[in-house]
Amino acid sequence: MRDRADFEQYVEQCSPRLLRAAYLLCRDWGSAEDLLQTALAKAWLAWRRVGENPDPYVYRILVNTHATWWRRRWRGELPSETLPETPDADAAEAVIGREAVRQVLAGLPGRQRAVIVLRYFADLPDQQIAEILGCSVVTVRSQASRALRKLRVDPAAVAAITLGS
């Protein structure tokens, strides 16, 4: 049976990677930390029922909690006394391609972004992603395919997804 030590070990070992996943979902480190703390707290409350591999369960909480927050959270501006950093022109040239991808990723609809994060960051199989998102494998692949087109990923890879690989 899973116990407290087991949970604490999981948090220590996996939270950096989970935090990165949370960041990819919400694109803000502060919110990501907030989101992950809440997700892990919810996971702990059900820890005895979690199976051998807690990852799918924790990812499900992460994605669902983010979706709920996104619907409810006030998204107005916060007043600020300092301006954000200005972009560095030299560095911008070198990273412009990647930055463009990040921008597109940030603009993807929530469901598509979740599919991309779970498929290409968490490396979960489509079947497990479907269970996490509560949809069919076909839907996962079609969402992935649409997102990859927007991200300008190699059309061959997009076609492979459509064909079910």
Binding site: A5, S15, R20, D28, W44, R72, L78, F121
Partner: protein
């Protein structure tokens, strides 16, 4: 321009200059658990009051609302909009594991050799079994005494400590020749208040006994620089704004 799936994976895994999350701590998670439980109790109290009022107002043949899923609403409630953290701005996080040992015998001093490096250290010591005393040493011989194990209330205490002021040369660097971190879990079950009382005698008389425990040493790393984030500084209780003025990834507190 198109990218490959591998490049997409690389982008998702992040670049160095994008900052890397040090994760969240167990203490932060348990604090959040307590907050959720408090909300549940508060919601439970409100429901109980509402039910009492409904019972008082409903005629014997009347019905009350069903399918009142209180927990879903409470659990799904977002935190306040302003993100808050339990760590003061600029405080270091436990980062990469640089040495780790798992043991099955208690009462014997086990050591980990740490190479030279420029970052302060953090040690985690986990013990199975009942509450016992444990001693952690740095290379210079200075020791720290702690409790470790599961108490009568079922609560397990592990040791999470930044090794400050011991074995660290000025400037926070470790000696060029590296150093040794060692620890021992003492045999006697401990339930007293004074963790320091008689521990040297117990250590001197300690004999090996079966016990699963582990020692992990990590390097402390600066937190991710999060520009324009407002947070509550637990040191002062004031709201501050991180402005990343330090550039090197260490946030500095902006104006409150």
């Amino acid at each position: 321009m198109t990218i490959t799936e591998s490049e997409l994976r690389e982008i998702l895994n992040g670049d160095e200059d994008e900052g890397r999350g040090g994760g969240v701590t167990v203490a932060d998670v348990h604090r959040r658990v307590r907050a959720i439980r408090r909300r549940r109790w508060a919601a439970g109290g409100a429901v109980a009051a509402a039910l009492a009022a409904a019972v008082a107002l409903t005629t014997p043949g009347g019905g009350v609302a069903d399918d009142l899923d209180v927990w879903t609403g409470v659990m799904a409630r977002p935190s306040p909009t302003v993100p808050t953290m339990s760590r003061p701005p600029g405080d270091l996080y436990p980062g990469n594991v640089i040495a780790k040992g798992g043991y099955t015998i208690g009462g014997t001093r086990e050591e980990l050799r740490i190479g030279p490096g420029g970052k302060p250290l953090h040690v985690t010591l986990r013990c199975s079994g009942p509450m016992r005393r444990a001693v952690v040493w740095m290379g210079d011989g200075s020791s720290q005494l702690h409790q470790c194990g599961t108490g009568p209330d079922g609560h397990t205490t592990n040791i999470y400590r930044r090794l400050e002021g011991v074995g660290v040369v000025p400037g926070g660097n470790r000696p060029a020749e590296g150093q040794v971190v060692s620890a021992v879990v003492l045999p006697r079950e401990f339930q007293g208040d004074d963790v320091f009382e008689g521990w040297q005698e117990e250590l001197a008389a300690a004999r090996p006994f079966p016990l699963e425990w582990s020692l992990t040493v990590r390097e402390m790393i600066p937190p991710v620089c999060r520009d324009n984030i407002r947070q509550l500084d637990p040191r002062t209780g004031k709201m501050v704004q991180l402005d990343c003025a330090g550039k090197g990834g260490t946030p500095s507190a902006g104006s409150p």
